[in-house]
């Protein structure tokens, strides 16, 4: 019964707040003598999450805490509540943001060297105004360029609990993988039916254990 109470208070608070609440904030809601432990709160949150299984709303942990949010699958329909389209961000802005997110702390010139174009100051300004990006320090080189990093608001906005939640970066293929191809003409001189001398390069092609007959 007490557990039900904790669960309901937590759910009520999440709904009343309309913003993410941390475990510490949730604990503060209870009288000192009736305050649930962190584990108790996590359990309550787990129950809330389970209760919302299959519903329009889900519990999600983001950087600032837990929040109840509309499931993204209904986003298309729900967004029609508002006549204006949600803001679209340019590729330049998203690429700049991606570099800051994955490579933080990063200077403007480092962003430039990866993108091959100079950083548009308006983009950085927009990112800062949205409070997604902030100056986290200065690199100790001449000119002391600003080091940019992402904020908690950025994680909240994109529904991430921490930076590890970012989509994984693509693997870099090494140039060395190319070398087998260079000797291919030699291999081609082999006769039909022989086992290929080279491991296949295409990922879906059979590996060295290709059929021998």
């Amino acid at each position: 019964m007490n557990e039900d109470h904790v669960r309901n208070v937590v759910e009520a608070a999440l709904l009343a707040a309309g913003r993410p609440l941390s475990i510490a904030e949730l604990a503060q809601l209870f009288d000192e003598d009736a305050r649930p432990t962190t584990d108790g709160l996590r359990e309550a949150l787990a129950r809330i999450a389970a209760d919302h299984e299959g519903r329009a709303v889900e519990l999600r942990e983001v950087a600032s805490g837990f929040r109840l949010q509309v499931r993204a699958e209904f986003g298309r329909e729900v967004s029609r509540l508002w006549p204006e389209r949600p803001q679209r961000y340019s590729r330049a802005l998203l690429e700049t943001l991606a570099l800051i997110a994955y490579r933080q702390p990063i200077t403007r010139s480092e962003i430039e060297s990866v993108r091959g174009v100079s950083v548009n100051p308006n983009i950085v300004k927009t990112l800062m105004e949205r409070n997604w990006v902030r100056v986290v320090g200065h690199r100790d080189v001449p000119g002391r360029p600003e080091l940019l990093g992402t904020t908690r608001d950025f994680l909240d906005y994109f529904g991430l609990a921490d930076l590890d939640d970012l989509p994984p970066l693509a693997e870099l293929k090494a140039m060395a993988d190319l070398n087998p191809q260079l000797v291919l003409p030699v291999a081609v001189e082999g006769v039909d039916g022989e086992e290929p001398l080279l491991p296949a390069l295409a990922p879906d092609a059979p590996a060295p254990d290709a059929p021998t007959a």
Binding site: L68, G75, S79, L94, Y157, G159, L172, L178, A200
Partner: protein, 343 residues
């Protein structure tokens, strides 16, 4: 399971003809060249010529501006032809790249210097590849394209990462924080409307107080409403709130407080300030308005009020030139008082 590698064997003849096609360079004839003949793409035989090597200029115009830079353009050229990024046919790509650059020039698109640097880089790599290399060097000496490939891959990584970020469910686009706010727990904060009368009453108090300071030193300086507006905004900037009466410096005398009052009215009219009252008959507060400029206090006839308050001493109904319009008599009055006070 088929054996794709074996199917390469009968192809060379066909590929050779393909290599002589009008739009394709014959790279394969140079034995030590690192570029592959068109026979093999990612270990797969190429059965037909790519048909999309040419883009009509009209189409170009549309998306030339869409490129995020030379790397993006280069990547596009490579991907469009399904070429392996690790094995770029440089001569071909360089030529296409230069076609685009020429096109950009023709269309008088502002060509960023980065594009030209890349063109030079491509030509430089190509020329280095044409130099013969000794047999043993082919393995351990770095491919001249390596640095370019590294940059392209690095850029493509973050380009894809940017797309992934764009696909993340995002607040206000894909998801919204659920809330069921209950007014029961919220303090009711319906602020009373501030009427012009109340403002005038408050102002009158200030004026009354100002008169008590009539003998104090008055700076003989032009009091500009504009400058005062800036001062007031700066005052409100910090904590966001200021008590109405505290914005006035009674020492400035009647003219000073009038200018301040005009400045407040003007700021309210421009929607930069809000006047709020936490309770009926409570003290007036001035707050920096956050919303877009709308008339913060409806029905507030700013000019009229100003004229009324300044008791006929202001003829102009424009605000800016007021200090001049605010006749010198007032100032002189004050100065006279001052003189008396000193004497």
């Amino acid at each position: 399971m088929t054996r794709p590698h074996l199917s390469i064997v009968p192809k060379p003849a066909e590929d050779a003809t393909a290599g002589e096609g009008p739009s394709l360079p014959i790279e394969g004839n140079l034995p030590l060249q690192a570029e592959m003949p068109f026979a093999v793409v990612q270990g797969e035989p190429l059965t037909q010529l790519p048909r999309d090597l040419y883009i009509p200029p009209q189409a170009l115009e549309v998306f030339l501006e869409a490129f995020e830079g030379p790397l993006d353009l280069l990547l596009y050229l490579i991907r469009r032809q399904n070429l392996d990024i690790l094995d770029i046919p440089l001569a071909d790509i360089t030529r296409q790249y230069m076609d685009y650059i020429g096109m950009m020039n023709e269309l008088q698109l502002e060509l960023a210097g980065e594009y030209l640097v890349m063109a030079a880089t491509l030509a430089e790599i190509k020329s280095r590849m044409l130099l013969p290399r000794s047999a043993e060097a082919t393995t351990d000496e770095a491919d001249p394209r390596a640095e370019l490939v590294r940059r392209l891959q690095e850029y493509e990584r973050y380009k894809q990462a940017a797309e992934s970020i764009d696909h993340l469910p995002r607040l206000e686009r894909d998801t919204w924080v659920a809330s069921a706010p209950s007014d029961v727990y919220r303090p009711v904060s319906s602020l009373p409307k501030v009427s012009l009368q109340e403002m005038i009453v408050a102002f009158r108090e200030v004026v009354a107080r100002a008169q008590m300071f009539a003998h104090h030193h008055v700076q003989r300086e032009r009091l500009s409403v504009r400058a005062r507006m800036t001062d007031i905004l700066a005052t409100v900037e910090g904590d966001g709130f200021a008590e109405f009466t505290r914005l006035f410096r009674a020492e400035e005398g009647r003219m000073g407080v009038t200018v301040t009052f005009m400045a407040i009215l003007e700021l309210v009219r421009e929607g930069l300030l809000d006047l709020v009252q936490t309770e009926v008959y409570g003290p007036l507060h001035v707050r920096r308005a956050n919303r877009p400029p709308v008339r913060a206090v409806p029905d507030l006839p700013a000019e009229g009020a100003a004229a009324a308050v300044a008791a006929g001493s202001v003829e102009d109904d424009t605000i800016a030139p007021l200090p001049d319009g605010l006749d010198d008599d007032d100032l002189d009055d004050d100065l006279d008082h001052e003189d008396e006070g000193i004497a």
